[in-house]
């Protein structure tokens, strides 16, 4: 148990150790790649260096976490609670996985510009600030650092027009979202005179929400709604996921989502804990719309990447159900589901990155027909991922959904729970055909490119992720405990003032 005084330079430095380490490391890697950016070896070097940086930062984050580092008095600017540590850890894991998946992918696609990896690191720094922001300005800065880096990553395949389209689309929509978010911040500041999440929460507590902060809340929800791709702010997601390099799509589906959901939960629970009558109906509406639209439109997709894009919209809906609960259990459920979804999605995009043929954009259901015969390992792994996304017992996806169901049912809201499970049934209609194609259909005459094989680093990532999906599915106790504990820390951060 370490207590830090964030008012002193030493305290704030210590509190930001993981972020500072990663920033320094990122600049170092930038220096290295400005020298060496020609060959495949250079690219690999940058990749492994960046991976090491993520590991170092992760070590710092875990050190903070395991020492139960907290703030003396009120945490300003940056949170010091389990919620930040857990969300940042998931984001860092997602970054590590993305880097390892990209190693072979970039070489195969001839994207040999090693600046890719510092961009991943920059985006991760943004995510960590977003997940830990205790102040609306920090939140905005984190969001922008993350988004700008990801815009570039989305368009990284310069020669591919779809990649450029993805980057442009993401950038334009993202700029809009940032605008909404800034307006929201301005209105909240105008109403409370502070940008601190908990101080603003203390100002707003105890009386019905006035029009100005209510508008601010709505605009914040819209801004973050774009980032989590909740319906109706989801239009960009399918095209962007589809056009981006596959590991980047995976990064967007996991890391970006983790950070944005962590920020959303924190804002709602720390600044607006007493305004549930306003935001709960909105969040419920977004959740229902996302679950319905995401799942139903995913049914119609032929390309696996687009299917996963729409399914990520659906999963954003499930996560919003957990956000809706507005309780420590709900906050814990958000984190646990993000972990479950992150592990599974990262592995799924990893498999897709492997299966994609060089230069071609889409892997369709027909392309993977008969895969079980030629690539049994890949088929088994991808099947387990699909079952986990479906929320089937024995996988971590089920544990995540089960926790969300618990969180909403404990709030006497069975309606959202029923919508959640019924739309999950719909999702069987597009996850199962993946398994069906691989196991039950004959291989097409035009077989996959013979050279498709898992490069060792990617094999390691997907193997670890798939094993984790199964192990946590059967032995969820540790993550359940962690989720419950971190969920409670969020309210403890908010509590000291909200009660006044």
């Amino acid at each position: 148990m370490i207590q830090l005084d964030l008012g002193t330079p030493g305290g704030i430095t210590f509190a930001l150790i993981p972020e500072l380490l990663l920033t320094g490391w990122c600049l170092l890697v930038l220096l290295v790649v400005s020298w060496r950016h020609e060959t495949a070896e250079d690219s690999r070097l940058a990749g492994w260096l960046s991976f090491a940086g993520v590991v170092v930062s992760l070590a710092g984050m875990l050190a903070l976490w395991f020492n139960h580092t907290s703030a003396e008095g009120l945490a300003q600017m940056i949170a010091l609670d389990g919620y930040r540590y857990a969300a940042s850890t998931i984001a860092l894991l997602s970054a590590a996985g993305t880097i390892l998946l990209s190693l072979g992918y970039l070489e195969r696609e001839r994207l040999l510009a090693p600046e890719y990896y510092p961009l991943v690191l920059l985006a991760t720094i943004g995510m960590m600030f977003l997940a830990g922001a205790e102040d609306l300005i920090v939140l905005f800065l984190g969001l922008e650092v993350m988004s700008v880096a990801v815009y570039v990553l989305a368009g990284y395949n310069r020669v591919n027009p779809f990649s450029s389209e993805a980057a442009l689309k993401y950038f334009l929509i993202g700029a809009f979202a940032s605008g909404f978010l800034l307006y929201g911040i301005a209105l909240v500041y105008g109403a409370t005179g502070t940008t601190s999440l908990s101080l603003a929460g203390a100002q707003l507590a105890g009386k019905p929400l006035a029009l100005m902060p209510a508008l601010g809340l709505g605009l914040l929800l819209i801004g973050l709604g774009f980032k989590i791709s909740a319906v109706p702010f989801h239009m960009w997601a399918p095209d962007v996921y589809d056009g981006s390099p596959t590991p980047v799509s995976g990064f967007m589906a996991t890391g970006v989502k983790v950070a944005a959901f962590a920020a959303l939960t924190r804002v709602l629970m720390e600044t607006f804990p007493t305004a549930t009558n306003i935001w709960q109906p909105i969040v419920a509406g977004l959740a229902i719309a996302s679950m319905l639209v995401g799942n139903l439109v995913a049914l119609a997709q032929r390309s696996l990447k687009r299917m996963l894009a729409y399914s990520s919209i659906a999963h954003a809906g499930y996560l919003l159900v957990a956000v809706w609960a507005g309780t420590p259990t709900g906050a814990g459920a958000v984190l646990l589901y993000l972990l479950a979804y992150g592990l599974t999605t990262l592995a799924s995009f990893g498999f897709l990155a492997v299966l994609g043929r060089g230069g071609e954009r889409d892997v369709t259901y027909d392309d993977i027909a008969g895969l079980a015969a030629s690539r049994p390992g890949v088929a088994l792994g991808l099947s387990i991922c699909m079952l986990s996304l479906l929320g089937f017992p024995g996988t971590v996806g089920f544990i995540g959904k089960w926790y969300i169901l618990n969180a909403v049912i404990a709030q006497n809201q069975a309606f959202l729970a029923v919508i959640l499970v019924l739309t999950s049934v719909v999702s069987a209609g597009y996850y199962l055909p993946v398994i069906m194609a691989m196991y039950m259909k004959p291989a097409p005459a035009r077989a996959l490119q013979p050279g498709t094989r898992l490069w060792p680093a990617a094999a390691g990532v997907v193997a670890v992720a798939v094993v984790a999906v199964i192990v946590l599915g059967f032995w969820p106790q540790p993550v359940l405990d962690l989720a419950g504990e971190t969920g409670r820390t969020l309210t403890q951060t908010a509590m000291p003032l909200a009660g006044q």
Binding site: L387, F392, P393, G394, W402, L405, N406, I409, A410, A414, A417, V418, V421, L422, S424, V425, A428, G429, L432, P433, M436, Y439, M440, K441, P476, Q477, L480, D481, G484
Partner: protein, 519 residues
Amino acid sequence: MTAFLHSIAYGSWILHALVLLPLIGVVPVLLGPEATAKRTALVITTLEFLLSVGLWWALDPGFGTLQLISDSPWIPAWGISYRVGLDGISLVMVLLTTALMPLSVLASWRYITQRERGFYALMLTLLTGMVGVFIALDLFVFYIFFEVMLIPMYFIIGIWGGANRLYAAIKFFIYTMAGSLLMLVAIIVLVWKVSAVTGTISFAYEHLLRNAAGVGSVAPWLFAAFAIAFAIKVPIFPFHTWLPDAHVEAPTAGSVLLASVMLKIGTYGFLRFAVPFFPHVALSPAVSTLMVTLAVVGIVYGALVAMVQPDVKKLVAYSSVSHLGFVMLGIWAGTLQSVQGALMIMISHGFSTGALFLLIGMLYERRHTRLIADYGGIARVVPVFSLILTVVSLSSIGLPGLNGFVGEFLVLLGSFGAYPWATGIATTGVIFAAAYLLWALQRIIFNPLDHAENKSLTDLTPRELAVMAPLLVGILWLGLYPGPVLRRMEPASQRYLQLVGSPATRTTEAARPVAEARP
């Protein structure tokens, strides 16, 4: 025997062994060579059956309570533990499952020629799931077994099935999953509502059973969720449309296990969970009328549709809808005879319909057609096959002296007092059954031998006889001397009636919280 079992502490490990043995068996099946997969699977399923036989003596027949309970914490923070145990009802279902499994493996000997390792590994996983469902005493564990069973069956239908297998597999999966996810919501709601009353979060069956009355006004919704999940599984009309597709497309072993065991999980669910949890809803006049009506509609509708099927496998599939209607009628009539009869049908339907699917599979392996019109007069070519088919068909019809009669007679006898009209209509189902099966029999094994291909059919091989012999013994034994089985189930049935406070025992309402099961 009891002393011997006691000396090896049989009761303390047997339930874990039954769940784990098939899972462990998956390893040698997958790692061994393709050619020995079926032998390994046969050895493991036979061993499983031999192990399970001891349960017959391990269970104290004097008590209707749950016995051999074993409880190990799994997710203590959420009140979830791996809790298993069984009573007379679970006992016979477990024995039915383990007995049919080696026969199903043996029946797949020549039928499955591709990816044998995968097939037998899935069969063993399925066995774990089916046994687990019948012994689970924690609702979380039950739900997991209930769902996990789906995957092997989905693959068995989807990979080794007939021409239309993909459609059948996904339909089967989505139907079952829709029901079970609603049940999951109901389980969680039940646990939270009960914890609001008792202060403890626990998924343990007995805990929920004792306090389920505290859920208050949501009870009808919870019952509806449970009932839909199980109704799809049974299947009760109008949730039955997945059944003909799945049964027809599945390979023989899949059809046998679907019909003989997996359908019973639905009726077992009603007896174990849906009705005892919410007896005031389940046995209220409105719900009773609805369920009895659906049961009777199922009986008559299933029989009538079976009558016009050109495909003999589809005929048997629809006959299952009809037979399971009798089970539902028996459960809702709520007398000792009717419940005992329902259980008896669950067992004997497992034997008769399983045997029918096996015989159809044997015929299909020879002629590669299941159309009744393609056969005729084959009694002259394959006399042993025809004799067995006749006996099995008669048992399915419910001829006195064979197993089918006992259950249906008890159900009709026990239900007449409560629902005379419904029982009267249900009786016609027996007559229709005679009509569709005898008519099919006539067209297949009698009539002129007018298809040249049928003249060269070969009769049953020793392997096939070895598959059918135990089933025939079971059919005759249950028909002539059902006493031991009925006696074994009776205390559990009585306890069930006590729990639900049926008309016969409603005066004992005060005694509803039946004493906790003995350890």
